[in-house]
Symmetry: D2
Subunit: 354 residues, 4 copies
């Protein structure tokens, strides 16, 4: 019974709970290697559960007879938590960094459509000074009748763009069966919003030796995003960048509602870097700069933006893609916003001593 | 110019759109094998786009220069649409049916935990007269520290339960790499809510020769659910049961908000059968009967309910599991509700002539 | 120290809270006539606050220095709570009852438009056997350019309809300056969804001697609805009917998402009767019967439905109004559903001995 | 038939609509002084409705027989629309301005609690250089048991604070019966989020000769906010400041989700100034600066922030109140953010030539 300290969880036993039920909960906690602190009362008895949070998480407390509520005091995540690991994580790929004062500007087309489109766009964003190049090879699309990406052919085009520009690549992995080819080609593996709760995929990239860009699901809470990151880190890969990209709400004026509050909450809760995707939230290019400004001002470590050298020809998400020259100007402003908002500022993503 | 008929989409050109931009949109529609009907105006020009909806879906209209809005008139799904295929689909597995007057009562434990738990629960629900047996082998869980299912061992236990009870099995497939073993064992493949937009998985089960139970994602619209079903049917598998199981809203009193309105909407839009999962929506057993009643009264073709012979020992979702005797009584009431609410009623799920 | 019993609230002091801050919270609780139970810990100290819930509600605990979280154990409402007043409330108006086995069927036009429209519709719903007649005199409308109701003229027409049919009237009060004229005319005062948090208006009807039909705001939680009812009851008027009419969510297929789960939650939490408004939730008449069925099946004490003798002429909400003959058939089914779903059934709303 | 130009609305007639129904819709449009453009089709006929938007808004088109959908092309608001009145509105009170390059910093206590608290806080925010002083006299509170404001006594204390500091006052009006006393005392009338759809109150302040600060309801769309402003402007008062203060979503980490995207949408749609309330959205002071930064970066014309000289004693919203010295530092940063984000910058709210 070396367990001491404050409760992680408070278990409220209903007014009708019997003494046996209370004893039973205590016994189960003790059998699991945890401890219990009982505060009896007339209308409700409260049991404080003390122990390692993995042990407590494994107990189906809410199902125990007589239990009315389980009130968490500590958060359910551990490895990603700033409380347990206060030092900020810095992600590095091909000499570019994101996190802890290194701001990441990731840009490129939504999807690789054909060689020229990708090469031209890659050259333009490289000239604008971005940190990494994004581009989709496999695209999750709501309709089976829309363009689904070029697959392996796209990976080859992206590799060529990296070769020429020197930029690290960010591309999405959708299917555990593509792990090998995507991990081989890319520098940062993107897990898209629709796959944030695809736990098989999370475990798979948790075993990869490449950084992961994890996008928040459009109906996932910040806590669920952190638990998804915990899946990856628990498998041994602590190189995770979190990305807020908008949640589903009743408001129709943008495609999603960018949850700007998630930035300060995540920065308080975790040591992992946090970036913002203004393009998918807005769904419309006119709104992208304002959302990007807001993200940086709220404290994000960077942005990921869709850029296309000819948006009206884009097969996917054309209305939200910026022209390269607009993006270039945006980057200048974003660096200024970041400078004002007081994260110590380092040249965008490049190794100071490179 | 063989294309006739009414527009599927209305394309509103912004006030600033030029004549060239309008011509360009028309040309692109025509090149894609569609037709265009232009209504010019002072402040906005409206182009009606006429053609096959797959052709139109493949065009990234919203990105074209000058386009302000794209207003759909017809729905984006086709194969699952009642408009195109008015006859209701009936799903059959081991002689049990769901759809078009056949009501399905699917019950069993959330997760297979150990042999006795599954066998005892299976016997109890079989005795209550259910249509199919549910039970999870692979469990998607928010926390990596909670019980994740027994995997293949669970599939063996389920096969034994089927052998003894004669009930068809429903179990979840989470990972395209498990397709073979899950499809071999189960009678109905469940796609869980978190995987509704896992399009690789949808295509995979679209190629399987077993019925699919497709759960609505907690932040997916009814239209997105129908598009997910379209992915499956498009691959050749038209045996799909849709399941409403609650959506994410601001209301905290239940785990999810059961979208009861989805039942009449789905019944109007599609020929596929629609069932309700009151257990995951409620998250608490006290509320399960009311939600199940409501689902049947709204016109659902059945329910899927978690039952456990000893809920306070359950590794997963114990608080929402019903005891077998409560479930048995619930089934009696549900049949009465269904009878009142006027779908022509056939003995629950069994072949009349079996 | 006469205060005993279990805590109503648990106050979690942050890891950095000092002994002085803990003492300070305890002192403030004691000064307010409450008591405190301190459970010290290494990482967090938990203070159980014991006392009358009005006293505790008046304390701004979350602002006290060192406080990290305030976790409620008991609910914040009191007078409306079933826990404190287990006997179900029955509302009576002109000999018609709603609640505790008396089912209320309230129907009529959205808005009084002209004499004939109201009289014809009133006669039709009276013939169908409804419990009460609804009709709006003052209409809250999103656009200032739409029809806003006839005001006092409408009240006169409604009075005539009551005179002829004998049905009690339900009409909406929007403005505290109309209290007198509305209360004089009507038998049940409706507080519309947009005014659920108009606390001045709630207090005003709390002082009236007429029953109140309180609609849930489209973004209000069940708990907020109960607190709104508490405002009314606290002023002395305990004749309150609660009405679920749909909440705002991301789902666009109906105007609102009917929160069917609110019915069993409300029935568990409060002794007040609960009804459902399927018309405003659906926004489209085709869906109204399914939602009404679901509401009754979930345990509601009745429904309020918009009926119009000529919906295509309606000034307001025509698309959701039922024709009188459809409504009549619906009522028959609703009584059957209610009978199955096991509230003890009494002839719709009429005094048994009348 | 002088009506020309493009349609404001497209009316889609269902596949089953008869020629008579189509003619009937056209006739009704013409009788209302509008015009109709019919595009017949095999599956659906589309009628473009042309005319003044007030005239069209007054027609209950969706209820007409045969109508399936009404698709708006132009927005339903008019007087608040930037399209119709491109010049930005500047609000002025006691020589301080907000809008079109004038940034407003409004600060003060949530509620007037007692004289010293208000005076001390007012002096502190005046010293920090704010544009206006906020403070509540009448407080809408979810629970009837919490502090409801001092009412008229508070108005007197606020008047004294204005007298001493020279700052214009912003205070909330909750009840049309308080119009006279609130309008007499205050310089800017605040309509709180819960009253955004209290149309009686909107019309009342539309007749007042003081600027109005209109807060968005937590479940109101941006379009509904603009329609609420239209109510005020339509009555003759064009001095309206819009305020985004967070919407209700499923995310629990803050009290509300600040809809940062509303800022660029509102700035595009309306000529009225737009500010942000980070305090009510966050509910917790640690997050207030990040949200305020984000709001300014997104293009807001100012912020309204709760400041208290002793937050742990605050009767209301203490956890979200900033200390005066923190607020002072925040203001410096906000001006820098605004400068970067490219609204032309004028000294905060003061008349340049005053």
């Amino acid at each position: 019974m070396a367990v001491t300290g404050a409760p992680e969880l408070l278990i409220v036993m209903g007014a009708a709970a019997t003494a046996e039920q209370i004893d039973d909960v205590v016994t189960r906690l003790q059998e699991a290697g945890c401890d219990a602190l009982v505060t009896p009362g007339r209308e409700a008895t409260v049991i404080g559960a003390i122990g390692e949070r993995e042990l407590l998480a494994a107990l189906p407390l809410e199902g125990y007879a007589g239990v009315e509520q389980v009130l968490p005091i500590l958060k359910p995540y551990k490895l990603v938590s700033r409380e347990l690991s206060p030092d900020p994580t810095v992600i590095e790929a091909r000499g570019r960094r994101i996190g802890d004062g290194y701001f990441g500007f990731i840009a490129g087309p939504c999807t690789v459509e054909y060689r020229e489109q990708t090469m031209e766009t890659a050259r333009a964003v490289a000239a604008a000074g971005v940190t990494m190049l994004r581009g989709g090879a496999f695209k999750p699309r709501t309709s089976p009748y829309t363009f689904q990406g070029l697959g392996n052919e796209a990976l080859e085009i992206l590799a060529e763009a990296r070769e020429e520009t020197g930029l690290p690549l960010v591309t999405e992995l959708m299917d555990p069966r593509h792990v090998e080819q995507v991990v081989d080609t890319t520098d940062v593996i993107q897990i898209g919003a629709r796959n944030m709760s695809n736990f098989s995929l999370l475990e798979e990239v948790g075993r990869a030796r490449k950084p992961v860009l994890l996008k928040r699901g459009p109906s996932s809470t910040v806590e669920e995003l952190l638990m998804a990151a915990e899946y990856i880190v628990k498998e041994g890969n602590s190189q995770v960048i979190l990305c807020e990209r908008g949640i589903k709400t009743f408001e129709p004026s943008m495609r999603y509602t960018l949850d700007i509050g998630a930035i300060p909450v995540l920065k308080q809760e975790t040591h992992l870097p946090v970036i913002v995707d203004p393009s998918h939230a807005a769904g419309k290019r006119d709104y992208v700069p304002s959302l990007a400004h807001a993200g940086m001002a709220a404290g994000a470590h960077g942005v990921i933006v869709e850029v296309h050298y000819n948006p009206s020809e884009a097969q996917c998400d054309g209305p939200q893609a910026l022209l390269p020259e607009v993006f270039k100007e945006l980057m200048v402003q974003l660096k200024q916003v970041a400078a004002v908002c007081k994260e110590e500022f380092v040249e965008a993503g490049e190794l100071a001593h490179a």
